[in-house]
Symmetry: C2
Subunit: 488 residues, 2 copies
Amino acid sequence: VSTQAQVLYDFTAEPGNNELSVREGETITLTNQNVGGGWIEAKNSRGEVGLVPEDYIEVCSGFRKWLLQRRHAVYDEWDEEWDDVKSSGGYAESEAGEGGAINRGGAHVRSHLTDWTHIQESSNLVHGGEVGPVWAYPDYQLDCVVADPKKGSKMYGLKSYIEYQVTPTTTNKPVNHRYKHFDWLYERLLDKFGSAIPIPCLPDKQVTGRFEEEFIKMRMERLQGWMSRMCRHPVISSSEVFQLFLSYKDEKDWKTGKRKAEKDETVGVMIFSTIEPEGLPDLDLTEVEQKCEQFNRFTRAMDDGVKDLLTVGNEHWKRCTGPLPKEYQRIGKAFQNLSSVFTSSGYEGEAALTDALTAAGKTYEDIAQMVAEQPKKDLHFLMETNNEYKGLLGCFPDTIGVHKAAIEKVKEGDKLVATGKITTSEKTAMSKRASTMSYALQAEMNHFHSNRIYDYNRVMQQYLEQQVKFYEMIAEKLRNAHSQFTTM
Amino acid sequence: VSTQAQVLYDFTAEPGNNELSVREGETITLTNQNVGGGWIEAKNSRGEVGLVPEDYIEVCSGFRKWLLQRRHAVYDEWDEEWDDVKSSGGYAESEAGEGGAINRGGAHVRSHLTDWTHIQESSNLVHGGEVGPVWAYPDYQLDCVVADPKKGSKMYGLKSYIEYQVTPTTTNKPVNHRYKHFDWLYERLLDKFGSAIPIPCLPDKQVTGRFEEEFIKMRMERLQGWMSRMCRHPVISSSEVFQLFLSYKDEKDWKTGKRKAEKDETVGVMIFSTIEPEGLPDLDLTEVEQKCEQFNRFTRAMDDGVKDLLTVGNEHWKRCTGPLPKEYQRIGKAFQNLSSVFTSSGYEGEAALTDALTAAGKTYEDIAQMVAEQPKKDLHFLMETNNEYKGLLGCFPDTIGVHKAAIEKVKEGDKLVATGKITTSEKTAMSKRASTMSYALQAEMNHFHSNRIYDYNRVMQQYLEQQVKFYEMIAEKLRNAHSQFTTM
């Protein structure tokens, strides 16, 4: 089977380098993904074959689509899979009584991953008071710093790539990762947690920097945002694969861990078998459906709100960097122009006015520059945060969809018992599983809400603080300009 | 001879009122100017006759053109006229020696205006130090207040007009004038002083108010500016006709004065016969020509500079009242919209953020309104002052033209003597007259420069002061909005 990919950015081949020119939006076929050095070999629609930088293409969206289809399909096979787990001892055991939570579900998986024993692969849900179920949060909030992008090269220096330094706050020991490694992590997380936790796409298409340096800086900033968000999630941040990414010891450790992670079978809906609603009672189905529907409405409304803000912000950005500073510049020039005309009057006692007028003109030119540079200082972060949320909100319909499918299945329970397709205890087990999923979704909602409140408080504070500084500085500059005119 | 007029504004006739609908730019023929009540009877190109508000039409530009032609033509007749004055005793007398200045030139005129004896109709030029000749300025600077526009009506209330109250700072006694009276004054001043002093057109065409109230307010403000400028000119402000306008005792006094002023024969270049360069030596022709040329260049350069500033200011005005506040409004709405979405989350502890977000949104809506209203508070005066200067600068080419024609005449002097056309003493007299004109022009230049420096200092101070207040207020509002977000 040939792999198709979408081209994300224009790429012009350097002559004599066996490269292939591609255009944004073009679909290409990957003919060799093991070229290395940040390159893949691809064929375009005209049959031409050549090397293309792997960061310039995206297989993600296709993969994502496939994964989502699989995830929905998988749900129907879940009972079967779950039964496999059960028959292997893990689930049956935990069903028999409490206390077996730690081994539950994980047992089957762990038989394949015998040396991943230093990390607890199951996650606890606890009651968070007024807000309902929440994830059990660790005492120490993990974070990491993505910094110091460095050019590396392969293939005798012919092909280059960027390596970012990732330093977790726990160990404070940096590890290096290329974009493709982040992408690998994203695919692992999506595969493993995607049914329960919305995993936002890696920053990619939206990168707007026109120059390489700007592009790298922007990508780094967005990778930082993505990584911080992942760190903040207790389930993701405590997972084996995430810990591997953040703190592998050496190249060998990384490669072994990678291979293991790729073989991980706790993917799709299987993740729910590793979630333990600690001391939480079974849920009322109607209540769950209502909560779910409310959250669904909320995420859609927020998606609209966020997109609206992004549209408005984009237009404001354009005005602030385009026509508005041009206008202030022209005002500044007009004052300075008038000043130089006045200088030519030959009239005595002109200097005080012309100096002041020139200073006022220069002030408006300064203001023009300030206006043009301001969006980078404030609007930028507001836009980035909302962009991140747009991506995150885009994942919820799928997460909610998986949950809805489970509820529907449970609703059929009585009919299935009546027609003798399942036993009463199987129906009870099914309800229990759906209950776990509902708890997980509610914990995820609460996680989303608390993060959202934190993020929007922070970004609005930052935005307004910078806006205040901006207007204060303009006022200060104008006050100076004003003081140079003499009262007569 | 039929009088043509240009229509300044669209006017739609009220049916059954004997009115005539006219369109801006249309040329109409005045068929009866004595209708009264602020109306004149006119005929359009289709032969339709009806009443049109007299303030909606302009005969000024045609009159002005005619006057200027006449003024240039008059110059050639000047020797003749001047000789008339001479033969009547006035000029010859003053030529004989000093001290006769007060009666010079004025004598002939005053024979027609026997009871206008309380005002000295001649103007003195004195040496102003470094800057050269200046007008003799009075100790007390005259000014007046144009205020309190009131609707008056005539023709049994069918036709209405606006009467402004004009209060000179000298008497503090208000007199009432309609726009047509200001226009009458303008024509008198142009006729009498136009050869020596640039008399800016009355505010008219540029009036932009869309509603009657706004229109009246704007016109009043501009009449105020025009009157203040006239008050500031020592020659104009001390003239009989200007004093009449500012402080007539009653309707009878006004009517008598009006008739007298209309019969004033000291018009066109004759005004120079009333100017006395007190103790100033005859001028060097080359130096005069250079100064004149420099001033000519200066006024043209300033005209360009002022027009440039007006263009820039107009665009800025449009942006500040159009797209910019709309954008701030949309930013405000987007924040408030997001706030109301957040309110619907059903999550506990949401209120602090949503309240703050709503407040931030409202702040940007406030800012939108502030931005839209700001031009009226600052840009307006900058634009008005520059508009005034545009008008004033437009008068200088004519004033300078009259002077150039005089210089050319003097240059021919030797040739005229050689060919026996004039005597040597006539040539000397001619030089003396040209010298007076040059002094007058230089005094006028200096008057212009000192006023310009005063006006631009004042308007820039006012503009920047308001700008500072504006940005400070925005910063203050945003500081309040910022303080409502909580750090977590």
